[in-house]
């Protein structure tokens, strides 16, 4: 399985280089204009584009069909995609702290911003991965686009909600509830993806 993750990062290498440059640009832009919301939007957008890319490269090369001739199980094919996103997500989450620290945002607020970015990303992955496994990138494009729009709206609405709720709800409930909810959603997504891949024929 480790080999599968390495393969995905080899595919992403070029794209990651561009992404890093763009992030630095948006970060500087955010610091200069003292507005970091742009950066967070871009962060969310990129965290959505990366999974799409890894599916796309594999589809183009018809990798899955070949991978099954190697000592790789169908489960491995599923889990590796989630793991790649996890790794990318960890890096992006750490990055998400940078603009808030740079603009002097209070730690708690920046933590909730990061949490929302992370949760939105995972919800997106949990919903889009089974679709991508089932239909492939080309056929899912339209659905994925709609979902990206919905996720962006959810993100903006969500962060507003968080800000208004933090007055009434103790933050600690939120900080525990959202990760737990995300884990449940991810687990369900993986189970569905396992079923889809178990039956898929190449």
């Amino acid at each position: 399985m480790k080999g599968l993750i390495i393969k995905d990062f080899i595919n992403l290498k070029q794209q990651l280089k561009i992404t890093i440059i763009l992030f630095i640009f948006y970060l500087l832009f955010g610091i200069i204009t003292q507005s970091t919301s742009m950066f967070y939007m871009v962060l969310v957008l990129y965290s959505m584009m990366i999974p799409l890319s890894i599916f796309s490269y594999d589809e183009k090369a018809k990798w899955d069909r070949y991978a099954l001739t190697l000592p790789v199980s169908r489960r491995d094919l599923v889990v590796s995609k989630y793991l790649v996103y996890l790794i990318v997500n960890c890096v992006l989450s750490i990055l998400a702290f940078v603009p808030s620290v740079a603009t002097g945002m209070p730690l708690l607020e920046s933590f909730s911003m990061v949490l929302s970015v992370v949760c939105i990303g995972w919800i997106y992955v949990s919903v889009s991965y089974p679709i991508l496994f089932k239909f492939g990138v080309e056929k899912s494009r339209f659905v994925i686009m709609i979902m990206s729009v919905i996720s962006m709206i959810a993100f903006t609405a969500g962060s507003d909600l968080i800000n208004s709720l933090s007055i009434s709800l103790p933050n600690i409930v939120m900080y525990i509830a959202s990760p737990i909810l995300s884990i449940v959603i991810i687990a369900a997504s993986m189970m569905i993806s396992f079923r889809i891949m178990a039956k898929k024929e190449f």
Binding site: I10, Y66, E201
Partner: protein
Amino acid sequence: MQNALELKNITKNHKDFTLDNVSFSLPKGCIMGFIGENGAGKSTTIRLILDIAKRDGGELSVLGETDISNNAAIKEHIGVVMDETNFPDTATARNINLIMKNIFRTWNEEVYHGYIKRFGLPLKKAIKDYSRGMKMKLAISVALSHDSKLLILDEATSGLDPIVRDEILDVFLDFIQDEEKSILMSSHIVSDLEKICDYITLIHSGKIIFSESKDQLMEKYSIVKCSQDQLEAIASSAIIGARHNKFGSEALVLRDHVPTGFVCDPPTLEEIMLYNIKGGK
């Protein structure tokens, strides 16, 4: 385990195509050529052997294992080369080594680099810039760089020039020197198969026409050339297929059933295949 591969009544139903009770066995230590026209079912059969597609009926054993779906580890011992390369476009031969050594427990880096060098492949060039021959050589290098006991090649030499094909066939002959190793190769290039195969299996429209040793086939059949009238002297059941033109007739016949007086030539594998498929009396 005497047979590297055993297929018994394998069936698969597709909307416009059916694999119908496909049965054959590949004895250990042998090379089997799998021939048939385009769309006859060669690739489908191979995909079923590798569990890339699911069968609707029949039994299958690969290297003695009957349940390959839940046994990914058996693939350590199967080397596969398909007709298209499936490696990431931007990867290099060096990247492939890194990927494969983290997939195969039995990956041997030295052997891999040995083949890369033998085939003259560049280490740092992206695969998208490879020629077709180079891509095939890379895929073959990968298939031979782990503990493969069974090589499955699906049209691995198609689209390659005769020089490259010859190089590759030599590599396969080296591989088969070990009695524990076997090869199943599907190809249209019947002359390649004639050179190196011990067994030949012919598939046509999803059905196996024959699966026999090459020597037996060569002894069993003859090409007879005579006039159409003379051909009538041979029993119809002994004529596999015939071609007639205004100069005379040519037929593939069962040698034992030919009366004396006819000139019998040894058939080529291609003639055996063509007459078995086209028939005609």
